[in-house]
C-alpha cells in the first residue's frame, strides 16, 4: 500500500515535472533539489506552469485514502513533493522564506490550511494581495501540504481550530458587531480595508476557514487568540456568520445589500423615473405647445 501511494504521487507529479525539464524525474529523486537548483526564473516558470487550472485540479491517486489520516510517513512524502513543486520557489527549501515570499516558521497550520483551501495560495505574483478562488489542490493534497509545513516549522503558530457550528447566534452577533463588521460589513458583504486591501465577503468562506482567519489573521486582518475570542465564542461567531449565507431581507429586494448608495440610485431611477414618465404623459412638451398654437 505504501508503495502504491508513492507511485501514485509520482504519476501525478510526472507530467508536470516532465513539462518543466526534459528528463523525467524518478519518484525517488528529490524534486526539491531539482527546482531549488534551477535559476529563480526557471523556478517561477515551473511554479506557474504547474499551478493547475482551477476547473480541473490534478488528482493524486489517493482519493480513497482520506487525506493525512492514513499514514504519517506517506502524507509527509506527498506533502514534501507538493511543497517542492508549488511552494519552494518563494518560501524556500527550509520554509524560512526567500526574497519572493515570507517565512512559514511559526505561521501555524491554520494559516496554511486557510491559504490553500481558499485558493489564495499558490499565488501567481509574489507580494500581491492573494485572491480567493477555487482551491488549486484537492482536500487530500491540502491536508498533506498542511501536515508537511506543520511538522517543518510552521506548527508553532495557531493550529486549525475545531469549530462546532451549533453556537449561540445572539452571542455570535454581538462578537461580530464588535470585531468584524468594521471591515467585513454589517452583513458580511465585504468592504475596502484601506491601503488597497479588501476585506472579502464572508459567505464564500466555510466555517473552518472563518475560524482559521480569526485565529491567525490573514493580510492586515488582526489575529484574535483564545484570550480575545474564546473557543466557545468562536463557535458562536462562526454560527452567526453561517446565518449571513442566507440573508432574510423581509423588506424585499435588498439592492445587493448596498445600503443607502443603492437606495439613492433606486429613488432616482425608479421613484423619479416613474413620476417624470407620468408627467410627460399628462403634460406637454415645448414642441407640442408650439404645434397647438399654430
Amino acid at each position: 500500500m505504501i508503495a502504491l501511494l508513492a507511485l501514485a504521487g509520482t504519476f501525478a507529479l510526472a507530467p508536470a515535472v516532465a513539462h518543466a525539464s526534459p528528463a523525467p524525474v524518478a519518484a525517488g529523486a528529490a524534486p526539491a533539489a531539482v527546482v531549488a537548483s534551477a535559476s529563480r526564473a526557471t523556478a517561477r516558470i515551473v511554479a506557474s506552469d504547474m499551478t493547475p487550472q482551477p476547473q480541473t485540479p490534478p488528482r493524486v491517486a489517493v482519493p480513497n485514502v482520506p487525506g493525512a489520516r492514513h499514514g504519517h510517513v506517506d502524507t509527509m512524502k506527498v506533502g514534501a513533493e507538493l511543497y517542492a513543486e508549488h511552494c519552494i520557489s518563494c518560501h524556500g527549501a527550509t520554509l524560512h522564506g526567500t526574497g519572493d515570499g515570507p517565512s512559514l516558521i511559526g505561521a501555524g497550520t491554520a494559516a496554511a490550511d486557510f491559504m490553500l483551501s481558499t485558493g489564495r495560495m499558490p499565488i501567481e505574483v509574489p507580494y500581491t494581495e492573494e485572491q480567493p478562488g477555487p482551491p488549486s489542490f484537492p482536500p487530500e493534497q491540502i491536508a498533506a501540504l498542511v501536515a508537511y509545513v506543520g511538522t517543518h516549522g510552521a506548527g508553532n503558530g495557531p493550529p486549525i481550530p475545531r469549530v462546532a457550528p451549533s453556537g449561540d447566534i445572539v452571542r455570535g452577533r454581538a462578537i461580530f458587531e464588535e470585531n468584524c463588521q468594521q471591515c467585513h460589513g454589517a452583513v458580511g458583504t465585504g468592504a475596502v480595508a484601506g491601503f488597497g486591501w479588501i476585506a472579502p465577503p464572508l459567505p464564500i468562506a466555510t466555517n473552518v476557514q472563518v475560524a482559521e482567519a480569526v485565529r491567525f489573521g490573514p493580510g492586515i486582518m488582526p489575529r484574535f487568540d483564545e484570550h480575545a475570542i474564546s473557543p466557545r465564542d468562536l463557535d458562536a461567531l462562526v454560527a452567526y456568520v453561517q446565518t449571513l449565507h442566507h440573508p432574510q431581507d423581509p423588506g424585499g429586494w435588498s439592492v445587493e445589500a448596498s445600503g443607502p448608495v443603492g437606495e439613492g440610485l433606486i429613488a432616482f431611477v425608479v421613484g423619479l423615473g416613474v413620476t417624470i414618465l407620468v408627467m410627460r404623459l399628462v403634460g406637454e412638451t415645448v414642441k407640442q405647445e408650439q404645434k397647438s398654437e399654430l
Binding site: 447566534i169 445572539v170 455570535g172 452577533r173 454581538a174 458587531e177 464588535e178 463588521q181 468594521q182 471591515c183 460589513g185 454589517a186 452583513v187 468592504a191 475596502v192 480595508a193 484601506g194 491601503f195 488597497g196 479588501i198 476585506a199 446565518t243 440573508p247 432574510q248 431581507d249 423581509p250 423588506g251 424585499g252 429586494w253 435588498s254 439592492v255 445589500a257 448596498s258 445600503g259 443607502p260 448608495v261 437606495e263 439613492g264 433606486i266 429613488a267 432616482f268 425608479v270 421613484g271 423619479l272 416613474v274 413620476t275 417624470i276 407620468v278 408627467m279 410627460r280 399628462v282 403634460g283 406637454e284 412638451t285 415645448v286 407640442q288 405647445e289 408650439q290 398654437e293 399654430l294
Partner: protein, 460 residues
C-alpha cells in the same frame, strides 16, 4: 356635483367669487412644471405615513430586552426602546414594514423631486424678479427636508445612523466658539446622551414638519399670487398666462400625478428593502460597520468630509477642528451662493426688469454654465461619499480614488461649465440662423404648367 358643492359653500361663506376664480386659474401645460407637485405630494405622503409610524414608535433610549421572532440573532439582546419599537413596528404591526419603508422611500424621493424642480426653475430663469422670494423659500425647504430626513433616519438608534449622529455631533462641537453650546443644545450633553432621542424626535415630527408646512403654504400662496412663468413659445407674452384651467383639466392631470407618486412609493415600500436596521444592529458608541453611507441627500456632506483637508488650527484655549472646513464652511458657502444667485445675476447682467417669460437654458450661457458647475460640484461630492464602495468595485486603493476626487472637485466643474457655455453659444447661433431664415417658400407647379405659392415650411 361640484356646482352644488360650490353653491352650498357660497351660501355659507360667500366663497363663490374666489372659487370661480380659483377653478378657472390657468396652469401651464409643460410637463416640467409638475416637478414641484411631486415634492408637494411627497410631503402629504410623508405626513400620513409618518403619523401612522408615531402610533408605534417609542422615542426613548431606555434599555430593554428585545424579544421577537423578527430577528433571531437579536432575541434576548439588550437594546434601546427606540430600536426595539422599530423592529416591532416592522415585524409585529399590520402593514408596519410597508409604511415604514414607503415613508423612507418618500424622504429619498422628496429631496430628489425638490432638486430636479429647483434645477428646472434655475436653468429657465424662473427665479428672476419678481420671484426671488420663492427661490429663497424653496432653498430653505430643501435644507429643511435634508434636516428632516437626517433626523428621521437617525431615530431608530441603529448602528449605521448612530455613526452618522456621532459625526454630526463632532461637526457641531467643531464649530469655533459656539460649537459646544450648539452641540449641547441639540444633543443635551456629551454624545451619546440619553436626551438626544427625544429632542431629535421633537425636531423630526414637530418643528421641521411645521416649518415645512408653513413654508410650503407661503411658497404656494406666492406662486398663486404671482402666477406661473411660461416658456416663450408663440402666443405667450409677458402680460398673459396661457395654460389649462385648474378645473377640470389640470385637476385631473395633477390627481394622476399624485396617484403615480403614491403608487410608486407604496410599490417601492413593499418590494425594495430600505434601511434594514435589523442588519445594522443596535447602536453601540464603539461599533461601526463598513461600508457606511448616509442617505443620498446628506451624502454630499459625507463626501466633503472624506475629501476635506487636514487643517486643524490650535489657539491657546481653543481649536478649529478639521471638520469645520468641509462640513461647515463649504456647505454654508455653497448655499450662500445659491441664495445670492438671483442678486448676483441681476448685478452681472444689469437686468432689473420683471420677467414673466422664461428663458431656454441656451439663452443665458452664464447662468447655465454656473448651474452646470454647481451641480457637477455637488455631484462629485456625492460620488466621493461612496468612494469606498467604488474603490472595491474598481479594485483601486480608496486613498487613490479620494485624490482623484479631490482633483476632480476643483477642475471638472470648470470643464463642464466651459462645455455648457459652448453648447449654449452654438444653440444661439442655430436659433439666430433660423430667425434670419424663418421659412422656406414652396412653389407648386400646376398641371397647366404655371407656378403657385405652396405652403410655407419652417426651417426645422
Amino acid at each position: 356635483m361640484i356646482r352644488r358643492l360650490v353653491r352650498a359653500l357660497d351660501d355659507r361663506l360667500g366663497a363663490a367669487p374666489f372659487l370661480r376664480h380659483a377653478l378657472h386659474k390657468a396652469f401651464p401645460d409643460h410637463w416640467s412644471f409638475m416637478l414641484g407637485e411631486v415634492a408637494a405630494y411627497c410631503f402629504i405622503f410623508i405626513l400620513l405615513s409618518g403619523t401612522y409610524l408615531t402610533f408605534f414608535f417609542h422615542p426613548s433610549l431606555q434599555q430593554t430586552v428585545y424579544h421577537g421572532a423578527g430577528v433571531p440573532s437579536l432575541d434576548g439582546r439588550v437594546v434601546s426602546d427606540a430600536y426595539a419599537s422599530v423592529l416591532d413596528l416592522s415585524f409585529q404591526t399590520q402593514a408596519g414594514l410597508l409604511i415604514r419603508q414607503a415613508h423612507h422611500w418618500c424622504a429619498n424621493l422628496f429631496a430628489a423631486a425638490i432638486i430636479v424642480h429647483m434645477s428646472r426653475v434655475f436653468f429657465t430663469g424662473a427665479f428672476r424678479k419678481p420671484r426671488e422670494i420663492n427661490w429663497f423659500v424653496g432653498l430653505t425647504l430643501l435644507l429643511l427636508v435634508m434636516a428632516d430626513g437626517f433626523s428621521g433616519y437617525s431615530l431608530p438608534d441603529d448602528a449605521l445612523s448612530g455613526a452618522g449622529l456621532r459625526i454630526a455631533y463632532s461637526i457641531a462641537i467643531g464649530i469655533p466658539f459656539i460649537g459646544d453650546w450648539i452641540a449641547s443644545l441639540i444633543f443635551g450633553g456629551r454624545f451619546p446622551s440619553p436626551a438626544f432621542e427625544g429632542r431629535l424626535y421633537a425636531l423630526h415630527i414637530l418643528f421641521i414638519p411645521l416649518a415645512l408646512a408653513g413654508l410650503i403654504t407661503v411658497h404656494v400662496m406666492i406662486l398663486w399670487h404671482q402666477k406661473h412663468t411660461q416658456f416663450p413659445t408663440p402666443g405667450k407674452r409677458e402680460n398673459n398666462v396661457r395654460g389649462s384651467p385648474l378645473w377640470p383639466t389640470y385637476a385631473v392631470r395633477s390627481t394622476a400625478l399624485m396617484m403615480a407618486t403614491f403608487g410608486v412609493l407604496l410599490l417601492l415600500g413593499g418590494l425594495v428593502e430600505i434601511n434594514p436596521i435589523w442588519n445594522y444592529g443596535p447602536y453601540d458608541p464603539w461599533t461601526v460597520a463598513s461600508p457606511a453611507q448616509p442617505d443620498w441627500y446628506v451624502g454630499w456632506l459625507d463626501g466633503s468630509l472624506r475629501l476635506g483637508p487636514r487643517w486643524a488650527i490650535y489657539f491657546p484655549h481653543h481649536a478649529i477642528s478639521t471638520l469645520f472646513w468641509p462640513a461647515v464652511v463649504l456647505p454654508l458657502t455653497f448655499f450662500a451662493i445659491l441664495y445670492a444667485w438671483p442678486w448676483i445675476e441681476r448685478r452681472l447682467q444689469r437686468d432689473d426688469r420683471y420677467h414673466e417669460l422664461l428663458q431656454f437654458p441656451w439663452q443665458n450661457p452664464l447662468r447655465t454654465s454656473f448651474g452646470v458647475a454647481a451641480l457637477t460640484f455637488a455631484g462629485i461630492l456625492l460620488a466621493a461619499g461612496s468612494d469606498d464602495v467604488q474603490a472595491r468595485l474598481l479594485s483601486v486603493p480608496v486613498q487613490s480614488l479620494a485624490w482623484v476626487y479631490r482633483i476632480a472637485l476643483w477642475t471638472v466643474p470648470w470643464i463642464c461649465a466651459a462645455i455648457a457655455w459652448r453648447i449654449c453659444i452654438e444653440l444661439q447661433a442655430r436659433h439666430a440662423y433660423k430667425d434670419e431664415h424663418p421659412e422656406r417658400l414652396v412653389l407648386v407647379r400646376s398641371a397647366q404648367g404655371g407656378y403657385e405659392e405652396g405652403p410655407r415650411l419652417s426651417t426645422e
